[in-house]
Subunit: 216 residues, 4 copies
């Protein structure tokens, strides 16, 4: 009976153990993966095939900023997915609040095809750069909130807790901070703001480690 | 032999135990999840990148109703998915009728990107508000039908039945009722009709509990 | 060692047992489900939101043929998926040829959003009706080929063979025949051709049973 | 404790055994499958329904190059997926580098709907032919890199190593070579370049076998 109660997804409030509800847990993960996979694939729709032009080569050269936005966004969403993958791999159990937070997070991820197309079309424009930074900061921030909530609610596996606190939390916090910091920078120089985003890939992990060291 | 017959998906009429046909059950669930994930991600296609404008910031301000429709629809479809997730978690077995009803339900869910874009483009318009309400009422109603059918056909796990009858059924019935009730309201005030939808998120669960209490 | 050989997907030619390679089998199924889920969800893209019109209600009334095409195609693809689901549930093992045939089949299924939009835009047109019928006949025919191949190659579970031969094979053969027969009819009357398609849902199973009885 | 460390996805650097982290491994696979399924289904969006024409039949005849590009790209992406399926079936474990390489590879696969639409619209054009060849060469090359890395890093199952070295590696290398070789050819004759691509399906496996024999 006690087991039944724990297995029952209606028995609120309660946390469901991964092993007790493997199919339910894997559905949350499968849904998230599906949304990631679709959002990352929809990025290609920003690359429009020019209609009835004579000099196709020149038209494609003009598509360059769109291709760069595609590559950047693919890398960013891919990195988001890797972090999400790692984080959900560290969960021992989950609850309704985490699922709600996850949907809120996915709403930011699903906006990326729009922001990315905007950035490709208006590549040296303050507005599009700010929109892109806000979108990415929103996605990263709602992800950090998930990590913090999971940590507080005791949803993380015992052996993964240290890594989560020392590595994943700070690293993702740095991502939020860089995207937020790039917003005022975009009003001065869009190139500088965009360079800050690229820097995340280079120094993100290192900065996360540095913060982690200072905490201990 | 008896076991073979139970395992055989061709042995009609019959209900298939989840444990007997885990891969078949998880396919139904995976297909539904896929449809949910795609429908929720396609919502972003309603946000069109303006072509070749000078004042991009102003154009994006004009996109505000579309962004609100995106956020609302993401929340609604997300909530639909959570309910679906919970309901399928309570099933002990399934049959062909439930699968047919599920496809009928998904047809309504897949319409949401259209209704949502319509609402974003024509945000204070009676027609678009009615279409949105009809779409959501149709989705909720076909979901309630699934719950009722599963309950009657004995497809729900014993320990989940009480919760299903007291919580999920009434809560989803309230959602149908609110969306239906918002249709006549939309002819008087589209703002009032849309406010009713938002109220679902605030009072939906409470109202479901209230109905459940009156039943017992 | 013998076990290793059987587990090795590179050991050609050979059939892989479902139990020996559950993850590989479930990938084929998951990929197919993904394609089905996306194709069925893309149907909604045929419903275009009219831009900047005054009488929105009238515009939506004009969308009626598109909505009918949406409903019809959702039902047809949903039925295709149910048949595919049932067929793969009856497999004991699979091989490379079946996977190739499956991809060929999915190429027809993925064309449905195009044919469906065409039918919605040109609802009483011989050309669009023929294209739709050819698309559906192609999908059904390549599905029947999969069933026949799987039956011949001994990929079907022993206990499911009878059902496959008596039920699934003939039923799907009827679907092919009706779609093919509707092609010449479309040159005389598109309404009659489309009525034939609807008849599949009503009489398809019955006709399959009738054929099955004559065979035995 | 030692087991915990191996199970811990945060314990870097390290390779994760498939059996130790089945759900994590299947997420990578599911994400890849999702991306493949969406990319292959988005190919249909290149087939535009002509708006308000009188002679629909003639319009559809003009769509022929687009249909051919659809069929070709469906076959190519389908083949990519089969290779990916086979390769991941041969893995004994995976690590973060392979996951990063996989995302880089998927970025090329996701470009195919764009290149395919370009080829359909400009079917006898040097530029579109070159873009298509570059896209496919990029996808094939990043796939070969994955195989080589996995082989070097000891991620491949012992019993699959010989097949991987003798069959999969060379076969995929031939695909890269043919697509690369077709680029200069496209400047002389687009038909000849495109014929080379089709030849892959006919001779690809045979050439791979031939290379494999010369190596031994």
């Amino acid at each position: 009976m006690a087991e039944n109660v724990r297995r029952d997804p209606f028995a609120r409030p309660g946390k469901v153990h991964r092993e007790d509800a493997e199919i339910e847990f894997s559905r949350v993960v499968a849904f998230s993966d599906g949304v990631f996979a679709i959002a990352i694939t929809l990025l290609v729709l920003a690359l429009e095939v020019p209609a009835g032009v004579d000099d196709l080569a020149q038209e494609l050269v003009d598509l360059n900023p769109n291709l760069i936005a595609y590559a950047l966004s693919f890398a960013v969403v891919g990195r988001f997915w890797l972090s999400h993958h790692r984080f959900y791999g560290s969960l021992a159990r989950f609850d309704g609040t985490l699922m709600g937070l996850n949907i809120f997070y996915l709403a930011w991820v699903c906006l990326v095809p729009f922001s990315s197309e905007l950035l490709g079309e208006y590549s040296e424009n303050t507005t599009s750069t700010v929109v892109y930074a806000v979108n990415m900061a929103g996605a990263s921030a709602t992800f950090v909130i998930q990590i913090f909530y999971a940590y507080r609610a005791g949803l993380i596996r015992e052996e993964a807790k240290a890594a989560e606190r020392r590595y994943a939390g700070p690293a993702n916090f740095v991502v939020v901070a860089v995207f937020l910091a790039s917003i005022p920078v975009a009003f001065v120089s869009t190139v500088a703001a965009q360079a800050m985003w690229l820097a995340i890939f280079a120094v993100g992990r290192r900065a996360g480690d540095w913060i982690a060291r200072r905490q201990t």
